[in-house]
């Protein structure tokens, strides 16, 4: 942190480090130049699969749909031996109980979005109740959204307090804080929102709801990874990262993995600390894994949609 030492006592989020747009985009594009081949590719793809939060966040979600998705989470592609499960299922609070039951003791986590997802335009009490409901239903993880409106008007304390209150409501559940970077506008603000979220108690910071374009991008994720690194050096506390939305191809997911490896290193290269929020990425990864094994691409019809 560039500014006076006193900022470590009372953190002034207006003084979060500045981000140079050209520089960060250039750096992010450099990760895509890494050539991932052979065993590196296979191991990388398995890691990616194991980091996925398989997601369904639709108005038309039903018990049936969620149950099917849970089966997919546990058995991504039984025709292929020796592949991991995904990390978690991500659903609305009303679907948590169904998912929890369907996943049983598989070890796959249930993440629930909460806090008037995706807009976050609701009073704090309702957000807290929303969160508590999800946790009481059995959610292992809560994906909250920040109040972007308040953030844009400079009410950082409001945003901070809200995150802290939700963190408290989470109890033992891990809290992922969605910044909705597509609505923040600049990398400076992405960095500032990341700092607020981490200081307020986030266990994970997450780019997007998936409902707004652009969702996750590599430069935005890089800014957040660097914020996590700075926070780690400052406090010794690890924070997880979850890019979400728009990552549907294996190749892109491997680029993200390269970025995690080279910015944060070994400790973050597992699903405890890094997740992909995605719905269609899993099948592309499976298709690539089958290709590595058989030498041939199979049609999409060979992979279950749910």
């Amino acid at each position: 942190m560039a500014i006076a030492k006193s900022s470590q006592l009372i953190h002034d989020f207006a003084l979060s480090p500045r981000i140079d747009q050209v520089g960060v985009e250039e750096r992010a594009s450099r990760f895509t130049k890494r050539s991932i081949k052979n065993e590196a590719k296979e191991n990388g793809l398995k890691l990616v699969l194991n980091m996925i939060d398989l997601t369904t966040l639709e108005g038309k979600d039903t018990d049936g749909k969620v149950k099917q998705l849970c089966y997919k989470a546990m058995h991504p592609h039984d025709a292929l031996a020796d592949i991991p499960t995904v990390a978690a299922i991500c659903v609305y609070p009303s679907m948590v109980k169904v998912a929890k039951k369907a996943l049983g003791d598989s070890g796959i986590k249930v993440a629930s979005v909460a806090t008037a997802f995706p807009s976050g335009q609701a009073p704090k009490e309702i957000k807290i109740r929303d969160t508590k409901y999800a946790v009481n239903e059995g959610a292992d993880e809560v994906d909250m959204v920040i109040s972007r409106g308040k953030f844009h008007t400079g009410e950082y304390n409001f945003v901070f307090d809200e995150i802290a209150a939700i963190k408290e409501a989470c109890g033992d559940a891990r809290l992922k804080v969605i910044l909705e970077t597509g609505e923040l506008g600049t990398y400076d603000k992405v960095r500032r929102a990341s700092d607020i979220a981490m200081h307020a108690g986030a266990d994970f910071i997450k780019t997007s709801t998936g409902k707004i374009q652009p969702a996750a991008t590599m430069p935005v994720t890089l800014v957040m990874l660097e914020a996590i690194r700075d926070f780690y050096y400052k406090t010794g506390k690890m924070i997880g990262m979850k890019p979400a939305g728009g990552i549907s191809k294996s190749k892109l997911a491997l680029h993200y993995l390269v970025m995690v490896k080279e910015v944060l290193g070994e400790d973050w290269l597992n699903n405890e600390w890094f997740r992909f929020g995605a719905s269609s990425l899993a099948n592309d990864v499976l298709m690539q894994l089958v290709k590595l094994k058989t030498g041939q691409y199979q049609s999409a019809n060979y992979f279950s949609v749910d």
Binding site: L9, R18, I19, V24, R27, K33
Partner: protein
């Protein structure tokens, strides 16, 4: 609560470390050597054909990453140089001078296009001969060289717009001597403006890296450029001296060391020869406390480790404002751990081989001097191949302005880090150097950028970036970094008489 947190943090901060040796590693991804042809032997390219050297002598060129011989090339002596200059003179008088400018342009365009078609092969040869990572030769050297030719091809028939209300005429025969750090790119930098303005050329590449320039001779042949317009001869310092001293050469364009530049200037004193010299550097790269630190650190890496630091405009003196120095150095160390050093042909390699044993010795000499001067050294922990010439990326902190490692050009992946307190102080320190080729400024404040660029005595000042090149942008030095500009409109004027 924040206070107690801070106490815990400061206790921990000594032990906090990121681990960059990860269980997930990249598998080797080597580019294929078979996509390039390298002849066993190369003669001199004079008057459009390959000619045996009068010296009858050849010398080896090796791969610095393996120390294996790649090929042998002719050693041109004075008689060969004379033959090349005569051929250039003849082509100038009989063909090139008279040719309509738009026809000249067509040839340059054609050379640029063939260069693009052969980009992969050229990149492979550049990497094999010079040791630079294939990623750089593929993504920087070759495309930038082609761009330069395209740019100047466009100017050939528009000189009256470049010099409004004036008439220009070419100088005649240009003797051009290029360095070993960017062999193909420097050849393009030299040849493109010379041909566009109607001069003919005798060019000598550096003796450790002649192959891509000889490949360029093949391209020139394929482009059917009239014989003698470009002559490419190989050899070491003696050959270069013969070009410089030849009575019928009208202009010398040299890129290389300041020492040789001084010798050239002495040699041409009293003659009518024009010259542009692009010499050494010890660029100041300045990070202010309000800079975007992570991008600045990336810029520092790019400034000093690009092409193993074999870059005359490398940002080899890093000035960091004291309030952020610790943070910058910590981030720099972390970043260095993720740099991949090794086989230049591997597509993932960030730092390749040092160009020659001779250069490695120079770098090691300076590393020893730095240690002796009491600066704090840090090098990345990467393993190095057993054969070939290698140097780990290295930084020295706690460097003083009076240290030799802060004053002299090392020309390797070795960075000297100094600190400063105020704007005036850093400008004074940055300018306190016999060199003045380039500089970098990192700040979030636009007004500070303009203040710095105005007062810095350096030919190029990059703001919030480093080592960026464009054919339309002039490049060249102040003070002992040379004179004359290459690139852009300025680059044209170095090859014409305005009448």
């Amino acid at each position: 609560m924040a206070v107690t947190k801070k106490k815990v943090a400061s206790k921990k901060s000594n032990t906090i470390k990121l681990k960059f040796d990860t269980s997930w590693d990249y598998a080797p991804a080597p580019e294929s050597k078979s996509a390039a042809t390298i002849n066993k032997q190369y003669d001199l390219f004079i008057n459009g054909e390959w000619q045996k050297p009068a010296s009858k002598k050849y010398f080896d060129t090796i791969n610095p990453a393996t120390e294996e011989k790649l090929s042998e090339v002719a050693n041109a002596n004075e008689a060969d140089v004379d033959k090349a200059v005569k051929s250039a003179r003849n082509a100038y008088d009989k063909v090139w001078k008279k040719m309509p400018a738009k026809e000249r342009a067509k040839y340059i365009f054609r050379i640029a296009r063939i260069m693009q078609e052969k980009a992969r092969e050229l990149a492979i040869v550049e990497t094999l001969d010079g040791g630079k990572p294939i990623k750089e030769s593929r993504d920087f050297d070759v495309p930038t060289a082609a761009n330069h030719l395209f740019y100047y091809a466009g100017w050939a028939d528009k000189l009256e717009y470049a010099f409004p209300n004036k008439r220009t005429e070419p100088l005649g025969v240009a003797g051009q001597i290029t360095p070993w750090n960017f062999p193909l790119l420097m050849a393009a930098w030299k040849i493109a403006p010379a041909l566009a303005t109607g001069n003919t050329v005798v060019l000598k590449p550096a003796e450790t890296t002649p192959l891509t320039t000889l490949k360029l001779a093949e391209i020139i042949q394929e482009a059917d450029l009239p014989p003698g317009v470009v002559n490419i001869i190989t050899g070491a310092g003696d050959t270069g001296a013969a070009i410089v001293n030849h009575a019928d050469v009208n202009k010398i364009a040299f890129t290389g060391s300041t020492n040789v530049g001084k010798i050239i200037q002495r040699a041409i004193a009293g003659t009518n020869k024009k010259a542009t010299l692009e010499l050494g550097g010890k660029a100041a790269n300045i990070i202010f406390e309000d800079a975007p630190i992570d991008q600045a650190v990336e810029g520092v890496v790019n400034a000093i480790f690009f092409n193993q630091g074999h870059v005359c405009c490398a940002g080899s003196r890093l000035y960091v404002q004291e309030s952020v120095a610790k943070e910058v150095i910590r981030k720099l160390r972390d970043r260095m751990q993720s740099l991949i050093v090794g086989d230049p042909m591997d597509k993932n390699t960030d730092i390749g081989a040092i160009n020659s044993r001779e250069q490695l010795n120079i770098i090691q000499k300076y590393i020893a001097i730095g240690k002796k001067e009491g600066a704090e050294m840090y090098e990345s922990s990467c393993a190095l191949p057993s054969k070939g010439f290698w140097c780990r990326p290295t930084i020295f902190s706690n460097v003083a302005q009076s240290n030799r490692i802060a004053q002299e050009e090392i020309f390797g992946p070795v960075l000297s880090i100094l600190t400063f307190r105020t704007d005036d102080e850093v400008i004074e320190k940055a300018n306190n150097s016999p060199y003045g080729l380039s500089a970098g400024v990192w700040t979030d404040k636009g007004s500070k950028i303009f203040n710095m660029t105005k007062r810095m005595r350096a030919g190029v000042v990059w703001a919030n970036t480093f080592n960026k090149f464009d054919p339309s942008s002039p490049f060249g030095g102040y003070k002992e970094s040379g004179f004359g500009r290459e690139g852009g409109l300025h680059g044209l004027s170095a090859y014409v008489n305005i009448v």
